[in-house]
Amino acid sequence: MNVSPPARARIEVSGLAASYAQGPSALRDVTFSALGGQAIAVLGPNGGGKTTLFRALLGEIAVVAGSVAIDGPTAYVPQTERARLDFPVSALDVALMGAYARTPWYRRVAENDRRLALDALARVGLEDRPRERFGALSGGQRQRALIARALVQDARVLLLDEPFAGVDRISEGAIMEMFDGLRAEGRILLIATHDIEQARRWDRVLCLAGAQIAYGPPATTLSTEVLKATYGAEIVVLEDGTRAIAVQHHDHEH
């Protein structure tokens, strides 16, 4: 893609607390910072505040305390399983949504943006199926179409909500490679996951369980204590002490 090298992206979050309308704060005491080129795993159980953090960073919900500073346009890449699969849009339509914000309401999407969208689809490996219905794509392909949308937005900060949920192994490898490319371009990736092994692969890990438990490089941060505090009683530490597995219960909220 013909994207000029922009100013380095930066996120600075300090003492953040956020809440949904009229509710108690859903997330509090979040403090971290990241620079362009870094990928940060946002780790925690379901209901731990991962999506809440993203919505606060997007300005979707109220920040009731602390501060958020983000340099560079920010894109949200939702869980593909939560998108409306019955809505008849093509992969290209989804990528084109990335150009909506810069398209005046009385105009069509510019020809240049159409080319950018096709380029973005090619970059994520969907060049041969721009007309395919989003709902008919596999989980991994849908994820890639949504990443193409973020590329058309030219987002410097990508908030990725469980990007590997419902994605097969082969697509997972392709997406990981794509993430490396995005980091090399100086973008910041925030990757929400409840998978501890997944979280170990990134530069930093931010552990959330209603409040921030820890933040730092995975090797030093993901201690048994931190994992227990993050997951409560749901954690199983394997005997050799090097691996821990979070047991997820999907039938109730935490």
Partner: protein, 281 residues
């Protein structure tokens, strides 16, 4: 055919074909945004306004407009109490309004026009009514064309919509306002109970048959008009009530669409039973 020779029937036909086209397209977005219930509710909740307008001898459009505004305000007010919630708020407002309207209409000294208000009076369509219908169709076409991208974001991805330049809440409100205008304009011809059929059935049929949003909008319009045409022909040939015939024609078109494309409305790959079960864990 009688319909070819009667100016009365021709005016009614023109009115219902134009209304069908407008409602068919609007309905597609209403259904995508899952507002079918709101559509039905707004139509029913304006009954007291209609009755009062007919009692006072002012144009029904004024009564319908007032009725919709009061109903919308009541719904918004009741829904603000979180222990009530919007669905219950709508249900209570609609039953209250409908009951009040029926009580007013059935009072001893009121001329017996409740039937017209409930089921419409297509054959009474005046040139003014047809002009209003054409104005409505133009308004809906312009609004849906200009709002296409905003509506797309509001349906497809409301959480990311804002970061993509969308304003999903505002768009939904605007669409509901457009719905109110459509219901007000169409109620005189199709009636309080039947206007809903043209808003939902052609759109639901189009959503089953067409594979892009634009095609759904075009097909919804065409099927809405076709329902009007078929209904009016049936009404003229079989001497059935005009509004009811149109409503049944719309539902018949939906049934045909259902038979042509049974199963789920989206053609996404179906999940296997195991996938479905594990997702429910």
């Amino acid at each position: 055919m009688e319909i070819l020779h009667s100016a009365l029937l021709q005016r009614a036909l023109l009115e219902v074909v134009v209304l069908g086209a407008a409602c068919g397209a609007l309905g597609v977005w209403l259904l995508h945004l899952r507002h079918a219930y709101a559509a039905e509710s707004l139509a029913h909740a304006m009954l007291p306004g209609l009755v009062l307008a007919s009692l006072a001898g002012v144009p029904l459009v004024l009564g319908a407009g007032g009725g919709v505004l009061v109903a919308a305000a009541l719904i918004a007010l009741a829904a603000r109490d979180r222990s009530v919630g919007s669905e219950i708020a709508v249900a209570i407002t609609v039953t209250t309004a409908f009951g009040l309207g029926a009580m007013l209409a059935l009072a001893p000294h009121v001329p017996a026009r409740l039937g017209d208000l409930l089921f419409g009076d297509l054959l009474g369509a005046t040139t003014g009514d047809i002009a209003i219908a054409c104005g409505l169709a133009a308004l809906i076409a312009a609004a849906l064309a200009l709002g296409h991208r905003q509506l797309t974001l509001a349906v497809f991805d409301p959480v990311a919509a804002r970061s993509l330049g969308g304003r999903p809440e505002r768009v939904e409100l605007a669409l509901l306002a457009l719905l109110a205008v459509a219901v007000v304009a169409a109620v005189q011809g199709l009636g309080n109970l039947l206007v809903f059929a043209l808003l939902v059935a052609p759109a639901a049929a189009a959503m089953r048959l067409a594979t892009s949003v634009r095609a759904q909008l075009a097909l919804g319009s065409a099927l809405g008009s076709l329902a009007g045409l078929l209904g009016m022909i049936a009404s003229a040939e079989l001497s059935t009530a005009a509004g009811a015939s149109v409503a049944l024609a719309a539902v018949a078109l939906f049934t045909i669409a259902l038979l042509l494309r049974p199963g789920s409305a989206d053609r996404a790959p179906r999940r296997s039973a195991i996938e479905a079960l594990s997702a429910r864990r």
